[in-house]
Symmetry: C2
Subunit: 412 residues, 2 copies
């Protein structure tokens, strides 16, 4: 009867989640690395760029030769050549001399600034007037200005964004070490549940959770593997979970919200060698009948069958678990996932339980946001479709009054 001791708070479950080890690293080619999580610190092996570059089309000069030049008294320069893109300059820029250069071109020896072409008037083949002064290194990106050799650039645990991809490209990193993507096996149960392609008979409903959970898990950056529908029988569930555990890091069964079914899901989970039932009920609503067992480094989850509860518990527990397994150290900052809004009505809650309220957000005329509770039983998928996010009512509050400012966690 260990389940009396395993009813947990949300924070306790999150603590258990944080205990799983990060998945092993694998080599990934740069072309496929976007969105993956770095399993190595990336240091700069070289300076970027490796030479001083012009940032403008213009004339490469010694800055001091331009001092005092202006529209009415331009400085006269002798043109000693033109820089060819992607080549080492063949000319040198001495006093009173200049070379034509293009954006991105390599600065010739002797020159330390560029006068943009708009300020130049070519007098003849070998002479140009430059009509403004430039400071040393004006319109020049210096060697190592973007990246200096030895700099720590991207820490282990960073989920790669487009700009991070660009930086890796600049460094010539054709491949890198990334954490393996977590694999989640999604299983739906319920003897009343039929596949989407079926016409439900009396008492039957179509399988919803395979689709919501599969899509959620992919949004969380993991691979989802659907094992489809399994009958609510211990043997069937045992064999589906056994099969799932061969390849998956996480097994998520939804359904079987009945007391009896929950009990044998626990028994199935307990039956695996080395299994520990760590969660058997959570003080959260919706989501109370959540179960979690740990078998080695794998976790087996029994999520509620009610579709809203299954989605909310996946967001609450699977999302942080998958970020943890991915080794993501700075998960997407909370300020990108939440907004502040004002409650449009009172919502009661039960003391001693963390409540998640579905809300629809509406922008007011004063640019403030209003959160309208979307009420409805946790079996109603349409309530999630109408909602934009969730408001949490803390464990020891007894509700949220109309007009309260709340933080809304937006759906991914």
């Amino acid at each position: 009867m260990d389940h009396f001791f395993t009813v947990k708070t949300v924070d306790e479950v999150l603590g258990l989640v944080a205990d799983f080890p990060v998945l092993p690293a694998e080599t990934v080619s740069l072309a496929r690395a976007s969105g993956r999580v770095l399993a190595e610190d990336v240091l700069a092996g070289e300076d970027v760029p490796q030479f001083d570059r012009s940032t403008m089309d213009g004339y490469a000069v010694r800055a001091r030769d331009t001092f005092g030049a202006n529209e009415s008294l331009p400085a006269l320069f002798t043109v000693v050549g033109e820089i060819v893109m992607g080549r080492e300059p063949s000319c040198e820029v001495g006093p009173g001399r200049t070379a034509l250069i293009w954006t991105g071109g390599m600065m010739p020896p002797g020159a330390n600034a560029v006068v943009p072409v708009e300020y130049a008037r070519r007098v003849d083949e070998s002479t140009v007037e430059l009509a403004r002064p430039v400071a040393p290194y004006e319109y020049v990106i210096r060697r190592g200005e973007d990246v200096r050799r030895g700099d720590m650039l991207l820490p282990k645990g960073r989920r790669l964004r487009p700009q991070d991809m660009g930086l890796l490209a600049a460094l010539g990193r054709e491949s890198l070490l990334a954490t393996r993507r977590p694999r989640v096996a999604v299983i739906s149960t319920g003897n009343e549940v039929v596949p989407v392609g079926s016409e439900p008979g009396p008492g039957q409903v179509r399988d919803v959770n395979t689709y919501t959970l599969g899509a959620l898990v992919e949004l969380f950056g993991a691979e989802s593997v659907s094992l489809g529908l399994v009958r609510d029988e211990p043997d069937d569930i045992h064999s589906a979970v056994s099969q799932a555990m061969q390849t998956a890091d996480v097994v998520a069964i939804s359904g079987g919200s009945s007391v009896g079914v929950r009990d044998y899901t626990v028994e199935v989970f307990r039956g695996f060698e080395g299994s520990k039932i760590l969660v058997h009920g959570v003080s959260v609503s919706p989501g109370k009948p959540t179960i979690m067992a740990r078998v080695g480094d794998k976790s087996l989850w029994g999520l509620p069958g009610h579709t809203v509860s299954a989605m909310i518990t996946a967001d609450l527990f699977l999302r942080p678990l998958l970020l943890r397994l991915s080794g993501e150290s700075e998960s997407r900052p909370v300020w990108g996932r939440t907004v502040r809004a004002v409650m449009s009505r009172n919502v009661p809650s039960v003391h001693g339980r963390q409540d998640y309220i579905r809300v629809r957000i509406e922008a007011g005329p004063d640019s403030g946001l209003t959160a309208h509770p979307v009420l409805g039983k946790s079996g109603l998928i349409s309530t999630m479709v109408r909602a934009d996010g969730l408001v949490c009512i803390p464990l020891n509050d007894e509700g949220m009054p109309k007009g309260a400012e709340v933080e809304v966690r937006l759906f991914d």
Copy 2:
């Protein structure tokens, strides 16, 4: 010399972008539809659920028979059967009678409420005491309570979220009409640019934009096709663009920021039959040398070569273009992509130009956010790596003072 007439403001370019037609629809299986944009209105073809269901394990009763029951004076019921999941009930519930029912089970004829099992004490095989009253339809999801036949559920133009997938599953939609994903061909040019796998010689740099733009385009929900590096020669660019136009809806060339190269990119774009140069320069910084031509329903973009400018113009123009081509009517609401923050220092700007300032966001002790400008030339990819988002300084402002409250558009 039409380019004197084609320098546009950001809003003008966005107006041109909004003029492209939505891509055609295609049939997509539900299993692959997450994140796709609906090309049809989804109406409910049937009620969901199609029968009254219990939301609890308990006893199905006529509600009125429980009125007055409580812990000290429970009501006595005769148990006439147990509901089998997924089957039509074989029993009927008359006055003083009840049937055992499980979560999700079909309510038997005669019953209109469920007393949860916690309030039941089984006296013997055929008798149970129920110790609380229930109102009609308490703990019951009624037929059509989730979705009523004929309801408009998901409008054309909705990008499908996990819960929308669930709703489609509940309705038995194995496939649906979605807008075809836009295809974007990404081309990098520059005679000084070498592939990532190469060791750059003097004056050479590695190709960054192929990776940043490819990853961005995918984040925007499109398919990216990399055509790799092309030399800055009109013939080479012409043949790359011709090839790209065979399959892509959008061609994005970056590089060639030099005046001369820009000019012949325009000439190449102009050379396609029916081509119109709609943008030749934008009053925005960074991003001024942006070019756009329209050829039928395809658009050809010349993005700046500087990597920061290329990313910002892609965010400014390609993102809304791709949402437009996808037919997304309610693009991800802006309140999920922006946060308010306070500028940590003055940033000057030029009147008559829309400036985008890279900023790093820091959470303050008072839960307010501070936006720190990340200064640096637009050729420095490392500035984008350090930044979290952009602050826009409007066309006719001359800067943003320290302490100003600004809206930060977060990077995707």
